[in-house]
Assembly symmetry: C2
Homo-oligomer: 186 residues x 2
């Protein structure tokens, strides 16, 4: 990011969000997003590979938040507990952003290509969690299973959160309880 346009990225995200809402995702072009943000198309492409990527802005931040929270769990914390704790931190991050999340979920549900991108991003988060657990000395298999199960729990809770009015952290706890029951053969 160049020093001469410190806010270009933020302006692009805002412009894209407004245009996706007003004109629809499909009808919005990169040229329009760039124009609304007051930057060139070239600047857009310095920040994002395509217009879809704008919707996944913040994915790196989310991963850092998760991994940091994971690393901060006391030594000896059972892997699933460390994952649950880290996901609660993410839940608190999302809590004030429900309207945006709701809109984004609808957009993703309506566009298979966005849904695919979302799946790939979530798979990347699972890999980051599993790596974090392995660094804590968790076995390869347990790390992968705790991470993948954690992401499944997160998706279930997140879907319920965007379609209702309960708090995400409470829904995460419920889903983790349900996972335990299901895995035990309940």
């Amino acid at each position: 990011m160049g020093r001469w346009e410190p806010d270009a990225r933020g302006r692009l995200v805002l412009a894209a969000g407004e245009l996706f809402l007003i004109r629809g995702f499909d009808a919005t072009t990169v040229a329009e997003i760039a124009g609304r943000a007051g930057v060139s198309e070239r600047t857009f492409f310095r920040h994002f590979a395509d217009k879809r990527e704008v919707l996944f802005e913040g994915g790196g931040e989310l991963r850092d938040l998760l991994v940091t929270a994971l690393d901060e769990s006391p030594v000896g914390t059972p892997p699933i507990v460390a994952v649950a704790t880290a996901l609660e931190v993410v839940g608190e991050f999302f809590e004030p952003r429900r309207e945006f999340a709701r809109w984004r979920q609808q957009l993703i549900a309506a566009h298979p290509e966005l849904h695919e991108r979302e799946l790939i991003k979530l798979a990347g988060l699972a890999v980051a969690i599993a790596d974090g657990l392995r660094r804590r000395g968790v076995s390869d298999i347990a790390a992968t299973l705790a991470a993948e199960a954690g992401i499944a729990v997160f998706r279930v809770a997140f879907d319920r959160w965007t379609s209702g009015d309960r708090e995400l952290v409470a829904l995460l706890r419920e889903a983790f309880d349900e996972l335990r029951t299901v895995a035990a053969g309940g």
Copy 2:
């Protein structure tokens, strides 16, 4: 598929597999695959969207196998047990195909775009399993969690199977045991 070329699909899969092995995935073109199979490019595109899709041949068959096995579980079978049983049927299907699976895994690991496609296919299998469980009266949340956890278990077991010499069904059972331990906070 036209009557006049009853075997075109099978010949395309074989030709693609041979060319991917001999020349590499990237260097192989659709024209070459079609030529080796003795059909036109147009025929190729009647069967597959692109050369990547050839590697995911059989995905529908796999889903049907899974869903049928799931449907055949006795009423009242706990969801995770129904999923484990269905995945064992899939495991038996794969058992004689380890060499092919090993080669395919290497190809997928070496090509991020194939890895993404694989993730999307696996996510589709999880959705099919969850739908099957819901049809059996399992709650929405339990169905999703059992399905996603089942696919995570399958991936862990499948990776170990392709990189070693133990049987897939045995590895699946071990991974399900590990899931139970992890989910219980072990």
